[in-house]
């Protein structure tokens, strides 16, 4: 049972049995597996919580620079530790080094942005690659020198969940507790700073200090996560759960909690899969699990998911097409004074695609139009509906013309679609505004009027 966990590269190659799967997932698969899965889940929770705030503060990539920047810290801590005769491989030596270097990286980004003309993106790139290059050179120095057990340092780059010990799990637990506590205590402080920095400042909140606290938490999570996930992928743990959570909810508290849950779930499932299957590096699997959750969220989230959005767009198109049909028919009928038929292919507007075709079916089924050999014509109810639609259209058109200078600033939907989504109240308001200016359109159908349609 422990065989797959011993190392990611010398694993047993048979597929896991159902019992193994169940036991791993229920944390009863032996001590090692339990430690690994639990630690990964705890790390995922911490990263999800902290990452959520970092993402909202638009500091997502800062985490990447920070993570890369830890490498020279680890290497230097190793060299210094060895020089003082400490057990240089121990985490107690390496992690403080990583944390210091990570903070130094963040400070360097800030210095570059504030004191040179370089922008944040370039500054992050420079710090990320510069620190990492230094780290790589130092690692090669360590490997070339006569240090015992120097090889293990490489694991910080790609991570090695399987090597985790109970005290690592305890550390993860402590960090998870701390981040949960911080997310609860500083929820409103982080929220106001991330939402509206200037406003927070005017309200007397110490924005730089709160930012520092937030980045401090990111450093903490990054450093304890290095061993498990590796510094190249830790940023994914920070960003992905938060980004996935943002599809499901538009409430901050829910988003933070959800982000923590998604992070925890990714850690739990990813580590389990990695424990059960040979040659599945835990860090990568955890990230990919998160990636799958993200993808599913993006596609299927009820409000903001792409599928839901597609459906809404389609519904709007259908409505536009419908009103287009009604207005064309009504206008023709109004001109002629009697019901007319228009060939249906004249009524299909290409820009609306399938929506236009569906509109026809729609209108027929709801009894607004009749389609005969000569084409489509309005029914009595259709005439009334057409009058309403035409009226809205003319009012809107007139409003745009009359208030050409003001209208754009009074309306936030500037597209042509506006007239299709105007609420009855807004229509009334348009009418009042135009009446005040004595600019009502000349031929304005009354939607209660019936004669205009030329009743038979």
């Amino acid at each position: 049972m422990n065989a797959p966990l011993a190392s990611i590269s010398d694993a047993a190659s048979q597929a896991p049995t159902l019992t193994e799967i169940v036991r791993t997932l229920t944390l009863t698969a032996g001590f090692n597996a339990k430690v690994v899965v639990l630690s990964a889940a705890l790390l995922g929770i911490s990263a999800g919580l902290v990452g959520c705030f970092a993402l909202l503060r638009k500091r997502a990539l800062m985490g990447d620079a920070l993570a890369h920047a830890t490498l020279p810290g680890i290497a230097l801590a190793f060299i210094i530790g060895a020089a003082f005769g400490l057990e240089a491989r121990s985490l107690a030596v390496l992690l403080p080094g990583a944390a210091i270097a990570g903070i130094a990286g963040v400070v360097c980004v800030q210095l570059l942005v504030h004191h040179t003309r370089l922008r944040e993106d370039a500054a992050i790139g420079i710090v990320l690659s510069g620190f990492f290059g230094l780290g790589v050179a130092l690692l090669s120095y360590i490997q070339g020198g006569n240090y015992a057990d120097a090889g293990g340092l490489n694991t910080f780059i790609y991570g090695q969940t399987a090597a985790m010990l109970p005290r690592d799990a305890a550390l993860m637990g402590a960090v998870a507790l701390l981040t949960i506590l911080a997310s609860v205590l500083f929820h409103k402080e982080f929220a106001i700073v991330a939402f509206n920095e200037d406003y927070a400042r005017t309200q007397g909140w110490p924005v730089p200090r709160l930012d520092l606290l937030m980045m401090g938490l990111v450093v903490l999570v990054t450093v304890v996560g290095l061993q498990a996930v590796g510094l190249l992928l830790i940023v994914a743990l920070l960003i992905i759960p938060a980004a996935a959570a943002s599809f499901w909810t538009r409430r901050l508290r829910t988003m933070v909690i959800l982000s923590g849950c998604i992070g925890g779930f990714s850690g739990y499932l990813g580590a389990s899969v990695s424990a059960l299957t040979p040659r599945m590096p835990a860090g990568a699997v955890i990230v990919l699990t998160g990636g799958v959750v993200f993808l599913l969220s993006m596609l299927f989230a009820p409000q903001r998911g792409l599928l839901a959005e597609q459906i809404r767009t389609f519904a709007l198109r259908r409505r536009v097409a419908r009103e287009h049909w009604l207005r064309r028919l009504y206008e023709a009928q109004d001109r002629g004074g009697a019901p007319v038929s228009i060939p249906t292919h004249d009524l299909v507007s290409r820009g609306l695609g399938l929506g236009s075709v569906l509109a026809r079916v729609d209108l027929r089924l709801s009894g607004l139009i009749e389609v005969s050999g000569a084409g489509a014509s309005l029914t009595e109810r259709g005439t009334r509906e057409g009058a309403r639609v035409t009226r809205n259209h003319r009012l809107w058109e007139q409003y745009l013309m009359t208030y050409a200078d003001l209208a754009p600033s009074h309306v936030d939907l500037s597209a042509d679609l506006v007239e299709h989504v105007l609420s009855p109240e807004l229509i009334d308001e348009l009418e009042t505004a135009l009446r005040e200016r004595k600019a009502l359109p000349e031929r304005l159908p009354d939607h209660t009027e019936r004669e205009a349609g030329g009743r038979p």
């Binding site: 929820h187 409103k188 402080e189 509206n196 200037d198 400042r201 007397g204 943002s246 409430r251 505004a433």
Partner: protein, 277 residues
């Protein structure tokens, strides 16, 4: 060296002894100069806001209207001069000063509801690390209802129209229950209904003895909406009651003879004259 002419030896310390800063005035700006990268955008602004008035800051684009507000609120460091609130520094009366930022400066996709935003006005009162209690939520809700947004309190802010968003921000400022409000273009991009609602709110604030300072774009409505006006174009061209200050000459001086805007203004003036105001 007392023989040197005094006006050539003025130091900031001398200025502080000036009697102009009255503790009753909610806001007094003295000799405020603001520079971006050493290029002055505001020259030597001198202003005293009377209490319980609606005050418009009017001027062309790039006149430094928003900058003036930001400098008052300490968001932009002034190159020279001082700003005092009720005769003291801003830090001491922060809680009494409300701020409605420009709509463009806000990340509308942020996961907060209208109620959450309104509640932010109470954060400074709530203090560190404490959650928003029910009483504070109620205060925020009251503010929302006051601006006619009670029904939409649960909506995420991106799902609100421009006017509704503006009302939410107004509610946030109201929830703070400040005595002096700075509003950066509260009427920009709002519908007519919101514009009326906002002006109603402003008037009731005035009735409660509060002062509101608005950056305002629409010259036509200045005489109707505001009591006082500051005409600003990198410097204060004129300030005072609308009736005295909002004159054609001053507007020409402010806008440097830009005709379209002046036409608008003169129309407004004519209307104000007709209205007898």
């Amino acid at each position: 060296m007392s023989t040197l002419p005094s006006h050539e030896r003025v130091s900031p310390r001398d200025l502080s002894a000036r009697p102009e800063h009255s503790p009753d005035s909610p806001l007094s700006i003295h000799a405020l100069t603001v520079a971006y990268q050493r290029k002055p955008v505001l020259w030597d602004v001198e202003f005293e806001a009377p209490g319980a008035r609606l005050i418009a800051i009017v001027g062309p684009n790039g006149a430094g209207k928003s900058t003036l507000i930001k400098a008052c609120l300490g968001l932009v460091a002034p190159a020279a001069g001082r700003v005092e609130f009720w005769g003291g520094p801003y830090r001491r009366s922060r809680i009494r000063v409300g701020y409605v930022p420009q709509r463009e400066s806000v990340d509308w996709d942020f996961p907060v509801s209208a109620l959450d935003v309104a509640a932010m006005g109470r954060y400074a009162l709530i203090g560190w690390c404490r959650p928003v209690s029910r009483a504070h939520k109620r205060a925020a809700m009251d503010a929302l209802e006051y601006v006619g947004m009670g029904e939409l309190s649960k909506r995420q802010i991106s799902q609100l129209s421009g006017g509704q968003q503006q009302r939410v921000f107004l509610a946030r400022a109201l929830a703070q229950d400040a005595d002096l409000y700075f509003m950066d273009e509260p009427f920009a991009g709002v519908d007519a209904a919101t514009e009326r609602a906002i002006i109603e709110v402003l008037r009731s604030l005035r009735a409660k003895g509060k002062t509101v300072i608005c950056v305002h774009h629409d010259l036509q409505t200045v005489p109707e909406y505001f009591d006082d006006v500051m005409l600003l174009n990198m410097r204060v061209v004129a300030s005072g009651p609308v009736g005295d200050v909002f004159t054609r000459e001053n507007l020409v001086a402010t806008y440097g003879g830009r005709l379209t805007l002046l036409d608008e203004a003169s129309e407004a003036l004519a209307r104000a004259a007709r209205g007898g105001g």
